[in-house]
């Protein structure tokens, strides 16, 4: 079994997201240790991008902070290599396609394999376009995570679910990333459709920010992805955010256990 899929066995996985290099590489490095120790089952590391079209204002601002300090993909690979000496849970990179394309898919996936990154989430590389990355990623043992959204047709959901590996990223609601006071029932319906054709673990993201929401989602999903709420803590506390992040992670973890 894929190490990513294993992270879902026997529990609801908690999957936090942090923007790499926000506010600096050292802070991200420390936070990865904090998250792993506080019980994260998988961690997504965002590569900051100049034009993050799927992000709401919280993560976009984090990207701006990281880029303004000169954070590059190479810095993030080196940081992951250091973290890997002690952190064993699956690590994913979440990135827009252009940083991969310009780096070169081959070279990018080689670097992922060297630093033992488990997978990639590429929000602007939909199923129809993924071939140009999928094979090269697979060759290097890097899992390309698929996404479905409330606007995906039943036929698309089935096609994508059948072909998905690691886990399936279920976008909870329309719009961009960011905290939402109410999460629609859309995710539950989507996951029911997935279940008809695949046993791939389903993790729900976009808008999840409170333990109560996480608990609700854990009732029907295999994993809970939390981005903006964590990035907001980092935005507010910066280099001193470790304690707040640990506390939040423990609360979320407790809510879904």
């Amino acid at each position: 079994m894929n190490r990513i899929t294993e992270a879902f066995s026997g529990k609801t996985a908690f999957i936090p997201f942090v923007t790499g290099g926000d506010p600096d590489i050292e802070t991200t490095e420390a936070l990865l240790h904090t998250l792993a120790e506080a019980g994260a089952d998988i961690i997504e590391i965002g590569i900051p991008f100049s034009d993050p079209i799927a992000e709401g204002p919280v993560i976009e601002a984090a990207d701006v902070r990281a880029l303004s300090h000169g954070c590059t993909v190479d810095d993030l690979f080196e940081m992951v290599a250091r973290v890997r000496r002690s952190v064993q849970i699956p690590l994913l990179m979440m990135t827009y396609y252009n940083p991969i394309f310009v780096y070169g898919a081959q070279r990018f996936c080689e670097r992922c394999a060297q630093v033992a990154l488990d997978g990639l989430i590429v929000p602007d590389l939909p199923f129809e376009e993924r071939d140009e990355l999928y094979e090269v990623a697979r060759t290097h043992g890097v899992t390309l995570i698929s996404m479905i959204a409330p606007t995906s047709s039943d036929e698309r959901i089935e096609t994508i679910a059948r072909a998905s590996e690691g886990f399936l990223y279920c976008v909870s609601s329309l719009g961009v990333t960011g905290e939402r006071s109410e999460l629609g029932a859309a995710a539950r319906v989507m996951i029911e459709k997935v279940r008809r054709v695949s046993s791939v673990p389903c993790a729900v993201g976009f808008g999840v920010s409170t333990p109560a929401q996480a608990r609700e989602i854990a009732g029907f999903a295999d994993g809970v992805i939390v981005g903006s709420a964590l990035v907001r803590i980092v935005a507010e506390s910066g280099r001193a955010s470790a304690d707040d992040v640990a506390r939040f992670t423990a609360q979320m973890k407790a809510a879904i256990s």
């Binding site: 079209i53 799927a54 394309f101 310009v102 602007d124 376009e129 479905i148 698309r156 329309l174 961009v176």
Partner: protein, 394 residues
């Protein structure tokens, strides 16, 4: 690989959330584009409302003054709302209406596309919200007010560089959150499939008219067609009809800002490299890590770090060539056309004119070129005065 490719360029690199919306648009366009009712309704709007066909004006004084090829001007500046943008907007607004949409959203740089969209929304009884970079709102304050007069809401985009690319980001985000009643009326031959094809088809009327009007005037094909290129819609609209006519030289003029050897330019093909942004694979101004670079031009309409995918292919295939034109050259051409022909061109179009002024004397008097005047320059008068250090009391 998906449909909607121009060689390796184009495609559909967008979040899953938007896939349903672009597929819905693609299906609707496939259905309506050949529907006689739709095409006659659109023709009626283009002729009876937008003022088509636009003139092809022989620039006799300019030709005599420059002493070379005969220069013809394709007068998109004469269209209702003052630019070629209305051609595409009427097509998309009518299509959106057929799809049952009640609201149009759009990005705008110079404000021309925003004004055109607000106009079509007013005419067709649709709601309209236009996203505009904070810096562009400053540069084009008059167009902001114009859009509001037409009943549109103008939303200021402060993220990123506060220019056209950030307005595109904001409009895509808005669309991802609300697509049931909303159509994204994209303003150029860019974005995910089907936009580059659909916008080109709606703008191709420019080239079709050039062919007929030029034939009437000269009894043959023109030797060159010159147009400015930001995303590239007036250029592809001018070029498309002539792609298979190998004797017709196609020349796109990019904004070189302060010069291509400075960091302050928007010359995508001269200085950019292949990447993926805003749903398409094409050329972009970017750094070695794929971060999109801030671009600059005096012209808000050309201040975009990418170019439509069909231009990328025409460039690679050597079917069209793309030349950089600086702010200084464009401003010079802006004043020159006003003095010489009594026509104040948009500063965007002045980039094409500037190259024509350089190029015409190199061709013999037996040659003829057509320059597409994509828009009129009323909107630019204040900015040009500022550029030249003239104090205006408005």
């Amino acid at each position: 690989m998906t449909t909607g490719r121009f060689g390796p360029y184009g495609g559909r690199y967008i979040p899953e959330t938007l896939m349903g919306a672009v597929r819905e648009l693609e299906e609707a366009y496939e259905h309506w584009r050949s529907d006689p009712g739709f095409t006659s309704e659109l023709d009626a709007l283009l002729c009876g409302y937008a003022g088509r066909p636009s003139l092809l004006t022989y620039a006799a004084k300019m030709t005599a003054d420059l002493g070379g090829a005969k220069i013809y001007l394709k007068r998109e500046d004469m269209n209702h709302t003052g630019s070629h943008k209305i051609n595409n907007v009427l097509g998309q607004a009518l299509l959106a209406k057929k799809m049952g949409k009640t609201r149009l959203i759009a990005e705008t740089g110079a404000g021309q596309h925003g004004v055109a969209t607000a106009t079509a929304a007013a005419l067709l009884d649709m709601d309209c919200e236009v996203f505009m970079g904070a810096e562009d709102m400053e540069r084009q304050a008059l167009n902001v007010y114009r859009m509001e007069l037409l009943g549109a809401t103008v939303t200021k985009v402060v993220s990123g560089t506060g220019t056209l690319k950030d307005a595109v980001n904001a409009t895509m985000r808005e669309w991802a959150g609300r697509m049931v009643d909303t159509h994204y009326c994209l303003g150029s031959v860019m974005g995910p499939h089907p936009f580059p094809t659909l916008v080109r088809d709606f703008q191709a009327v420019i080239g079709r008219e050039i062919r007929a009007q030029f034939f009437e005037a000269e009894g043959r094909l023109p030797d060159a067609i010159i147009a400015c290129v930001g995303g590239g819609s007036n250029a592809i609209g001018s070029f498309y009809e002539f792609i298979d006519d190998a004797t017709v030289e196609l020349i796109g003029c990019e904004a070189a800002g302060c010069g291509v050897d400075t960091p302050r330019h928007a010359a995508t093909l001269a200085k950019g490299s292949v990447g993926v942004l805003h749903g398409m694979k094409s050329y972009f101004c970017q750094d070695e890590f794929g971060q999109i670079m801030p671009v600059y031009s005096i012209s808000a309409g050309l201040d975009y770090p990418g170019i439509g995918p069909e231009h990328a292919l025409l460039h690679d295939a050597d079917r069209a060539r793309y030349v950089p034109v600086t702010d200084d050259e464009a401003v010079e051409a802006f004043g020159y056309l006003a003095r010489t022909e009594g026509i104040i061109p948009a500063i965007e179009s002045a980039h094409a004119l500037a190259f024509a002024m350089r190029y015409a004397p190199r061709l013999g008097p037996d040659k003829s070129i057509v320059v597409t005047l994509s828009g009129r320059g009323d909107k630019d008068v204040a900015a040009i005065a500022r550029y030249q250090g003239v104090a205006l009391h408005e």
